[in-house]
Amino acid sequence: MVDKTVRCPNCGRIMTCFGNPGEVIKITCSSCYLEGKVTFNKTFQSKNIAIEVTNLKKKYDNLVAVNNISFKIKKGEIFAFLGPNGAGKTTTVEMIESIRQPTAGNIWIDGKDIKTSFNDVKEKISILPQEFHSFEKLTVKETLVYFSKIYKKKADINNIINAMDLKDEEKKYYKDLSGGLKQRVGVAISLVNDPDIVFLDEPTTGLDPKSRREVWEVIASLRDRGKTVFLTTHYMEEAEYLADHIAIIHKGKIIAEGTLDELIYKYGDESILRIQKSSSKKTANILKENGFNAYTEGNGDIAVKIKYKERILEILSILKHECIEYENIDIRRSNLEEIFLKITGSKLLENGE
């Protein structure tokens, strides 16, 4: 949604109205009741937006795979598009990549409408498709050189190899690499044109935890290089670890969107601060007296529900002031898994189902 300020041609009243880029809406002057139309520009003006999607829809016969979704991705951030398998993640990202044609809606990449100008943005973007496999009998370096020949804009291949920590593998055939290394090469391939925007579609699916962590580090390094990353994943912890901004998609609809903190604040339960092995039996009462929702758990630990992280310091200072000693303090806050469960009523399992 974008806003536009208009002046009534009859009475001069200034009004703000909201609509989608390219949309024409009817308005009525709140002062003189004159009716008129307002047209929103097709291209958005914000220079900080890398991708904007409005009212995107994809329908297959009777199945609506993506149902009227809209979101914006800021330049330089990692945007995680999170959801279970079949939620519409890949369909959405493939519509943004022009691999699939949307049934309805608009997509802008770097300010350009991809319906008409996708060729203009090809040099600026790069994708790592889901379950991507490169040419088996080319070495890592040959593979990177091969893909770089397609682009006019070229990054230094040796720099990419070093940055992706592939120096030891550069002479190995792609087929001889482990799953994690193959994905790392996949990310490296997506950097050969020094793109502004990188699309990574489920880059860690099927990898063991160690390899997954390694790929996370590589993805995190993309943000450090100033790239905008569109990451689709069904791993909650991947989104939690990497994303600056998260959109959760479920059954073709975006059900929650924001930073991790925003999502937890909006949808999550209160965080629980747990004081283990407290020296005083009155700890819970003291905290209650100070306005905290505290209680003693079965094992004797004190649990305190807190909404704002600033209150942690307050608790610590009370404990100090009352000379209460403790063995350990543990803080646990809601995670995306719990948020997903809370919003949808269903679990998002490890395999994405």
């Binding site: 691999i99 009998k137 080319l138």
Partner: protein, 376 residues
């Protein structure tokens, strides 16, 4: 057009190909093995023994000499049949594939020929024909026996007349008397090899690359479909010329085949590569799973290989199979190649090459038109 990429893609494909022993095998060694194995079987006949029933109606010195020559051929088991017996009945009862009837009057014809040699004013222009009875269901044996009988008759003609044919055989064969089976076989192997490598190559590009996400990636890259298809076609042509060269070199070195390399041969190799790449693209469009597509490729290439006259002359096949062959592109490729590189028949070369070019244009254009990178 990004020709740098086209060139680079070609080099990458060649590198990948050279690093795949299995692929190199199918492209080079397999046709060589076919040439060597089939050549060994059909050119020397040393390793197999075939029955040939001979019925001598002349029972003269020359006819006995002829039978004796046949008996001396290793791998040939000559069975002499009483001249009073019915040849067809005998073949049916004894399950024999071929029977050669030496005609009555063989000796007389020879004497007449010799007499004319002493009378310079007279010319001998008579030919006496042997009759060959064949069982059409056993084309392999007949084909070999026909080659052998033809070569013996040719040898007799050469020894007696120095070249004039006074003895002939009254069954027409598509293999002219000057050519052996291997001459017939070699162009067929070239057509067959180009067909398989192009069809499977196209299938791989359209199914494996789709599965591996390469086609999806290409869609988002600044490369056009024409650049991609051009570079792949150059690679297919590279493979076609490599395998053709290898087959020709082995054919010449091992079987001393006389090959005519001309513009038509080059044109046929190029057109055949485009033709079967087009068919592969069509298969790849409709059958998206790689394993299924490979099976579909096999379902098209194998019957075509057997029915299009790759291994055996078409005119030795039953009529209904001959009719099927007329609509198979590989038949025109095989015949075009044979006439261009072996028989040197310009008219037939032109005729068959024309068909190949038309097939090639139709299938390649449909293939390119149907090839899709994007998803529904």
């Amino acid at each position: 057009m990004n020709l740098i990429f086209v060139f680079h893609d070609l080099l990458a494909n060649i590198k990948g190909w050279l690093r795949s022993p299995g692929t190199v095998f199918w492209t080079i060694l397999f046709p060589i093995l076919l040439i060597l194995i089939f050549g060994a079987i059909f050119s020397t006949g040393d390793e197999i023994e075939l029955d040939l029933v001979v019925q001598d109606h002349d029972e003269s010195l020359i006819s006995k000499e002829f039978v004796g020559t046949l008996k001396n051929i290793s791998g040939l088991n000559v069975i002499v049949l009483d001249k009073e017996k019915d040849p067809r009945e005998y073949m049916q009862d004894e399950d024999k594939s071929a029977l050669l009837a030496i005609p009555k009057g063989l000796n007389t014809t020879l004497i007449e020929y010799i007499e004319t040699q002493f009378t310079p004013t007279e010319q001998f222009d008579d030919t006496i024909n042997f009759t060959m009875y064949v069982n059409p269901s056993d084309q392999t044996t007949i084909s070999i026996l026909r080659s052998i009988i033809n070569s013996v008759i040719y040898k007799f003609n050469m020894n007696i007349t120095g070249g004039q044919s006074i003895f002939g055989i009254n069954e027409e064969s598509s293999i002219t008397e000057d050519f052996g089976y291997i001459d017939f076989f070699l162009p067929g192997i070239i057509g067959f090899t180009i067909m398989t490598s192009c069809i499977y190559g196209s299938i791989e590009r359209n199914t494996k690359f789709r599965k591996d996400g390469i086609l999806r990636k290409l869609l988002t890259m600044p490369i056009t479909r024409s650049e991609w298809i051009l570079s792949k076609m150059l690679f297919m042509l590279f493979l076609s010329f490599i395998s053709t060269s290898v087959i020709l070199i082995f054919g010449i070195l091992v079987w001393q085949i006389s090959i005519k390399i001309n513009l038509f041969v080059i044109l046929l190799i190029i057109a055949t590569s485009f033709l079967f790449s087009g068919i592969g693209m069509i298969i790849g469009r409709f059958v998206k799973e790689q394993e299924t597509a490979d099976m579909a490729g096999g379902a098209i290439t194998f019957p075509m290989m057997f029915l299009a006259g790759t291994f055996f002359p078409l005119d030795q096949m039953p009529d209904f199979l001959q009719s099927i062959a007329q609509v198979l592109p590989l038949y025109y490729v095989n015949e075009g190649m044979r006439n261009a590189m072996i028989y040197g028949d310009f008219d037939k070369t032109l005729y068959f090459t024309g068909f190949v070019l038309v097939f090639s244009a139709i299938f390649f254009i449909i293939g390119v038109f149907l090839t899709k990178w994007d998803e529904d």
